[in-house]
């Protein structure tokens, strides 16, 4: 018994388990995308599904994102609950009309009474020298545009619960999973993402952040892989006597501004860690959420550790130089303290 309760899963397996459970419970749920069948998804998140559900409900598609994401919108409006995969978030450029002009707007175009229950799952993130068209996060790009809920889990427990919540949602949800958290060895897996995950079905509420470490001196807000950098930085800070609070956003839309504000009201200091581009993105939005609400809680100017505004370079040294990491978080805190 304890074996099952203590069971740890990777995010990839947690996603597949959630989809399988929802597919068993609801015939309308089906999966489509590139290489999600026999291959089980390039990032392992549909492994085992073809064997259980067959190729009618686990549907490999041609390399035609415009058509099959558009088709998912049509199927969702017609009563199905598709889970559709955009293999790399970077590929959004070939199919964004289906995403932001159809998927995200059709509910509004029918005054809120149309349902578009679909999940668009997509991989994000770099760090493994895949170059500038296969390494981006683009969190801010998706979260900026109204009409889509956006989630980005940092661990398997949240991944399973958020996926189940997303499939059951009557509005479209973009599920952004970070490649380095998938538990695929060849991508340099982050061990902290593989956590205890209950076998039974459960949901994690979309729109609720989690305080994953409590502290009184500084708030570090992040999402996805950045949460693990933040936790490691907090660990080091604690050795120097600084007590950092770490917030895992989990959802970008809706954004849990309350949890962020409450934490910064307590600590007075804010660092945002975001692997997406520095400007016009999540990091600016998080800081604005605090500043426009009550600037007086701040003891120091907020800081962001984000990806510089350049395309992602291929070469290892250059890419690693640009990515957020523990050292950059520690440096941001030092600067904040000495200011």
């Amino acid at each position: 018994m304890t074996e099952s309760n203590d069971r740890k899963l990777t995010i990839a397996r947690a996603m597949a388990e959630s989809v399988a459970q929802e597919m068993r419970a609801d015939e309308r749920v089906f999966v489509m995308g590139e290489d999600i069948g026999a291959l089980g998804g390039v990032y392992g998140n549909t492994r085992g599904l073809l064997e259980e559900f067959g190729d009618e409900r686990i549907r490999d598609t041609p390399i035609s994102e415009t058509a099959f994401i558009g088709a998912a919108v049509g199927a969702a409006q017609d009563g199905m609950r598709p889970v559709v995969e955009l293999m790399f978030v970077d590929f959004f450029g070939v199919c964004f009309d289906a995403i932001y002009n159809l998927m995200a707007k059709n509910i509004y175009f029918y005054g809120g009474s149309l349902k578009v229950p679909m999940v668009l799952m997509t991989s994000t993130g770099g760090g493994y020298s895949d170059g500038g068209q296969h390494s981006q996060c683009l969190y801010g790009t998706f979260a900026h545009l109204p009409g889509m809920k956006v989630v980005a889990p940092s661990n398997a427990y949240d991944a399973k619960g958020l996926m189940t919540a997303a499939i059951r949602d009557d509005s479209p949800v973009v599920f952004m999973y970070h490649k380095r958290l998938q538990g695929m060895g060849w991508l340099g897996t982050e061990a902290g993402a593989t956590v205890k995950t209950p076998e039974e079905s459960y949901t994690v509420e979309i729109g609720k952040a989690a305080v994953v470490r409590e502290g009184a001196d500084v708030t570090i807000v992040s999402l996805g892989l950045g949460v693990h950098h933040a936790l490691k930085a907090a660990e080091q800070l604690s050795q120097e006597g600084t007590d950092a609070e770490v917030i895992d956003l989990r959802s970008l839309v809706p954004l849990d501004r309350e949890t962020i504000r409450k934490s910064v009201a307590k600590t007075g200091r804010l660092i945002v860690v975001d692997e997406d581009y520095h400007s016009y993105g999540v990091s600016g939005e998080v800081i604005a959420s605090v500043v426009e609400h009550d600037v007086s809680v701040l003891k120091a100017s907020p800081a962001r550790v984000a990806y510089p505004d350049v395309p992602i370079p291929f070469e290892r040294g250059m890419e690693q130089f640009c990515l957020p990491n523990v050292e950059k978080i520690l440096a941001a805190y030092q600067e904040m303290k000495s200011a």
Binding site: P62, S64, G74, Q77
Partner: protein, 328 residues
């Protein structure tokens, strides 16, 4: 496949309804927009794409469809919406941006949705194709009856979405029909200047599916060819591609000076107006008497007047309602 007398009269009635709708909109559109034209003014602000001349396509297709069948329409959707049975009062109210409109004024005339008759739109050229293929897939997977028709213009056949959707529909053999309204102009660019083949029916071969071209903007011929494609789709035999020769008697949008048209083209097209043409044919073929047709026309006029009255008398949405209905 030939339409029955009832179907012919239904087609005529819906062509007339659509034309009266467009004529009234055209008139009202200029209220508040003279002497200086400003698109933002008047009871019907914004862009307006009228369908005068293209009615035969809508009725020739929709005569075969029931409420359960799916239609995705274009930025020029009124004739298609009327033929599909979209609630006329709510549609007109939407065009006026009223609280009683299909989306309470959030969508406008390019974004008409009526789930009761499975009708939807996209204002982006060619982008209704994917959703139509998906709805067709949904019916196939659920084992439910129904076919999906995507109406597009001939200009949309050069969109990537066209190629992707046709291929996907063919690979998955879903009950889907792509109907191209070939009005020969993509705004101001002619089909000849934009499209590598004179007729898009040949493109069906690229996807291993039947392709047909229907000449003459003739509702009976359209009915015939589309009927066969829909019967094929209903029998589980997969998608078809049909291009229909039609023409727009209006500009691309209200305010279009149409200087791109060769001299005399418009007058020649007006000579071929499908509505008087069908009227004479119904009488010549003995399908209807003058009185019957007068009565259909009168009723259509009244029905449009009623819809306009409904729209005019409906309340504006509260401005702050803009902030609602983003999610289901």
């Amino acid at each position: 496949m030939q339409p029955s007398r009832e179907q012919k009269l239904w087609m005529y009635e819906h062509m007339v309804l659509s034309r009266r709708c467009e004529e009234q909109i055209a008139k009202i559109y200029f209220e508040g927009k003279t002497p200086v034209f400003n698109m933002a003014n008047g009871p019907i602000p914004g862009e307006m794409h009228l369908s005068d001349g293209q009615e035969p396509v809508a009725v020739g297709v929709c005569a075969h469809l029931d409420a359960e069948d799916i239609v995705t329409a274009t930025h020029r959707p009124h004739h298609q919406a009327i033929a599909k049975g979209v609630d006329l009062n709510k549609m007109m109210a939407e065009i006026f941006g009223k609280s009683t409109g299909l989306s309470g004024g959030r969508g406008g005339h390019m974004h008409l949705f009526d789930p009761a008759v499975n009708f939807g739109c996209s204002g982006i050229v060619g982008q209704g194709l994917g959703p139509a293929v998906g709805a067709a897939l949904s019916r196939k997977m659920q084992g439910k009856p129904g076919v999906a028709v995507a109406f597009i213009g001939e200009g949309a056949s050069n969109q990537g979405a066209f190629h992707e959707a046709m291929n996907l529909a063919a690979v998955w053999k879903v009950p889907f029909i792509c109907v191209i309204e070939d009005n020969a102009w993509g705004i101001s660019v002619s089909k000849r200047a934009s499209t590598s083949v004179p007729r898009n029916d040949v493109r069906g071969a690229s996807y291993g599916i039947p392709g047909h071209y229907v000449e003459g903007n003739d509702p009976y011929r359209i009915y015939d060819v589309v009927g066969e494609a829909i019967a094929r789709a209903r029998a589980g035999e997969g998608p078809s591609l049909i291009e229909v020769e039609t023409f727009r008697l209006a500009g691309h949008f209200m305010g279009d000076a149409e200087a791109y048209r060769p001299k005399g083209e418009k007058d020649a097209l007006l000579e071929r107006d499908p509505i008087p043409k069908m009227r004479s044919r119904l009488i010549e073929d003995g399908d209807a008497s003058e009185d019957e047709l007068n009565s259909i026309e009168k009723k259509a006029e009244e029905r449009i007047a009623e819809a306009i009255k409904f729209a005019r008398e409906s309340a504006d949405p509260r401005p702050e309602d803009a902030l609602t209905a983003v999610f289901a």
